[in-house]
């Protein structure tokens, strides 16, 4: 059985870089990739009655949109010789990546480093990669 790499994916250049980096490593080590798309979500956020009513519909739309983003990417990677499966899930990005790593028995997690790490918001609230590094059950590679 080949090793499994988890790659966090969102639309953007940094995710592309992370994926390409992981693909290279996967090819050398004969590993598979699980491409994870996280839809940011907290069950403790506040919604208006209107939003409650349409939530299920919106969720279906959001899932469809996310799947439409990751599926072609995964297909391309598979065609290029690395078996790649997709996972789309709701939650906090770092938590979901840890969860998936645990479930799939992954040996490594790859994420891109979004934006500049010196901006105020990141300093105050932390970044996904920062949170992931602290909580991940397996080694994390942050691709700049």
């Amino acid at each position: 059985m080949s090793a499994i790499f988890v790659v966090g994916y969102a639309e953007g250049e940094d995710s592309e870089r992370a994926l390409n980096f992981a693909l290279e490593r996967a090819r050398k080590g004969d590993a598979e990739i699980r491409l994870v798309f996280v839809l940011e979500w907290s069950p403790y956020s506040f919604l208006t009655p209107d939003e409650l009513e349409t939530r299920h519909k919106r969720r279906n739309e959001e899932l469809a949109r996310a799947t439409a983003v990751v599926e072609p990417v995964a297909k391309k990677a598979t065609e290029a010789g690395v078996k790649t499966e997709t996972i789309v899930r709701y939650g906090h990005a770092a938590e979901v990546l840890c969860e998936v790593a645990r479930e799939t028995g992954a040996v490594q997690v790859f994420v891109g480093r979004g934006g500049s790490s010196s901006n105020l918001a990141t300093r105050l609230f932390g970044s996904v990669s920062g949170a992931l590094v602290q909580a991940s059950p397996v080694p994390v590679t942050v691709v700049p």
């Binding site: 506040f46 919604l47 299920h56």
Partner: protein
């Protein structure tokens, strides 16, 4: 399809005519008065007079006392129902309390359902519809008229009301409509129709229509005019007196922008600030209570004494009891059926779980927040007391005289001000936001009832929303008395229909409850976290 729409439009026309007829005598009267008077009365006075004249008969009917007593039948109706549900479900509000908390925390939520409406979200949204002026102004009205003893009856009504809420919200989820596109519509109009049919009973459709009519009136009254009215009083208290219709127009424009213009950002910002305002309000109340820690014993003594003797308030014990029950029902809306509309959207395989979650609502709303307001008013000594007799001094209008002469939200504001001089400003912002979020919630409840009657469609929806905005102006301009009477009357009329239906449907809830509890015990239903 087109016939459905035509029927909707015909019905819409009929209701518009009915509404016109309802207000026609008042309009004619107002015109006569305007013609008669040498100097025409101010616009506020005209609106007030018109409003009081056209709604008086409805208010009188709802609040008519049992023959030979001063006890309104509607208060008994609500309390008897809450007691029946409490007994029928074996003190469910206490038995299920810990499980309810676990559900809200998400202990039993399937991780695969992430992204759907959670129990917490349904509860928070329903709460922001009920936590509001009822907790701030309504309690002040109750304590101002019924004395501290009203607090005791209010808490009791809150505890009993938890069982009513449990019953209606379970049914709300069980009998909601789920459409192909994934949106949901639920509430008493749906469970009355479908639930009655399921039990082989007749008249469900009739009750649903009746409920919808009262729900629309309730949305205009307590969910709208009362809010606009108190928001105006609050603003006027800070910037000085000015005509109410001005506040009304400003509010109406903002509400219009949100519900017609689809300015979702305003609604969602409010929805996010309101919970913090609520926490801050309770926090400030707790600080004031702790600052007066030596008086806590005395305050509870007043509440208990007042509950059974009245301490000289108008109507004595019964007066305190009526005020307490009335304001509790108005504040937490248990048995009214409105919360069932908000709770129906939750994603759950077990309707009963939403019942469990919803029973926390009267607890948070009434037992915690309302009690805080009452304690602050009592502890800061806002109510004028005769030093010799220890009885409260009752003014000519039947209300207890207050130290500052304020009533309603003004009384609460004065109580908080005596501890923190800057608090009225915070309270004003809180009141405006609470008023606004309650209006948004009720515009939704009203709209659901409206579309149940007239069918869904852009045109019918716009008609409702425009009328809703007009009532914002009327509410801000009218006096508190007629507005609060009509608001209560409309909301209680909803409860008359809803509770009548609940009596027939409660065996269905019992079945759900027994099935769920046995599966919980056997371990079939287990925690995910």
């Amino acid at each position: 399809m087109s016939s459905v729409f035509r029927r909707g439009h015909d019905a819409l026309f009929q209701v518009t005519v009915a509404l016109a007829l309802l207000f026609a005598p008042a309009l004619a009267m107002a015109q006569e008065q305007a013609a008669d008077a040498a100097a025409p009365a101010g616009m506020d006075e005209q609106i007030n007079q018109m409003f009081a004249d056209s709604t008086g008969w409805f208010v009188t009917f709802i609040f008519s006392p049992f023959p030979g007593t001063s006890f309104p039948w509607i208060v008994a109706w609500l309390v008897v129902a809450a007691t029946v549900f409490t007994v029928y479900f074996g003190l469910i509000q206490f038995r299920a309390f810990p499980h309810s908390i676990a559900l809200v925390k998400g202990d039993y939520s399937d991780p695969n359902d992430a992204g759907e409406v959670s129990h917490f979200q349904a509860l928070a949204t329903a709460l922001s519809g009920t936590v509001g002026l009822g907790n701030i102004a309504g309690v002040a009205v109750a304590v101002g008229i019924g004395g501290p003893g009203a607090t005791f009856w209010m808490i009791l009504a809150g505890l009993l009301g938890m069982a009513s809420k449990f019953t209606e919200c379970t049914l709300g989820v069980k009998y909601r409509n789920e459409y192909e596109d994934g949106t949901v519509s639920g509430g008493p109009m749906y469970y009355l129709t479908k639930g009655f049919a399921a039990r082989g009973l007749f008249g469900g459709r009739f009750l649903a229509i009746l409920f919808s009519i009262f729900c629309i009136l309730g949305a205009f009254g307590g969910g709208n005019m009362f809010q606009a009215n108190q928001a105006h009083q609050q603003i006027a208290g800070i910037v000085g007196d000015y005509p109410g219709w001005i506040t009304g127009v400003v509010f109406a424009v903002i509400v219009f922008a949100v519900i017609v213009g689809g300015l979702k950002s305003i609604a969602s910002v409010t929805e996010k600030i309101v919970p913090f305002m609520g926490v801050m309000y309770v926090g400030a109340a707790l600080i004031i209570i702790l600052m007066n820690a030596d008086k806590i014993g005395w305050a509870f003594g007043q509440i208990i004494d007042g509950a059974f003797t009245g301490l000289g308030v108008a109507g004595g014990l019964v007066g305190a009891l009526i005020q307490g029950f009335r304001r509790a029902a108005f504040s937490n809306e248990a048995g009214v059926g409105s919360a069932a509309i908000a709770h129906s959207a939750v994603r759950t395989k077990e309707p009963i779980t939403e019942g469990f979650v919803s029973l926390l609502e009267p607890f948070i709303d009434t037992v915690i927040i309302c009690t805080m307001t009452a304690l602050v008013i009592i502890i800061t000594g806002q109510l004028a007391m005769d030093a010799e007799t220890g009885l409260y001094i009752v003014g000519e209008n039947g209300a207890i005289q207050t130290v500052t002469g304020a009533s309603g939200v003004g009384l609460t504001s004065a109580a908080f001000e005596s501890a923190f001089s800057w608090f009225p400003y915070i309270l004003a912002i809180a009141v405006i936001l609470f008023a606004f979020s309650t209006m948004i919630s009720w515009s939704y409840y009203g709209l659901k009832a409206w579309t149940y009657l007239f069918g869904e469609g852009k045109f019918t929806e716009i008609v409702f929303k425009v009328i809703f905005c007009i009532f914002v102006v009327i509410g801000a301009a009218a006096n508190l008395g007629p507005v609060i009477d009509f608001s209560d009357a409309a909301i209680f009329a909803m409860a008359v229909v809803n509770i009548f239906g609940l009596y027939f449907l409660m065996p269905i809830v019992k079945e759900e409850l027994n099935s769920y509890l046995s599966r919980l015990k056997s371990g079939e239903i287990r925690k995910f976290h």
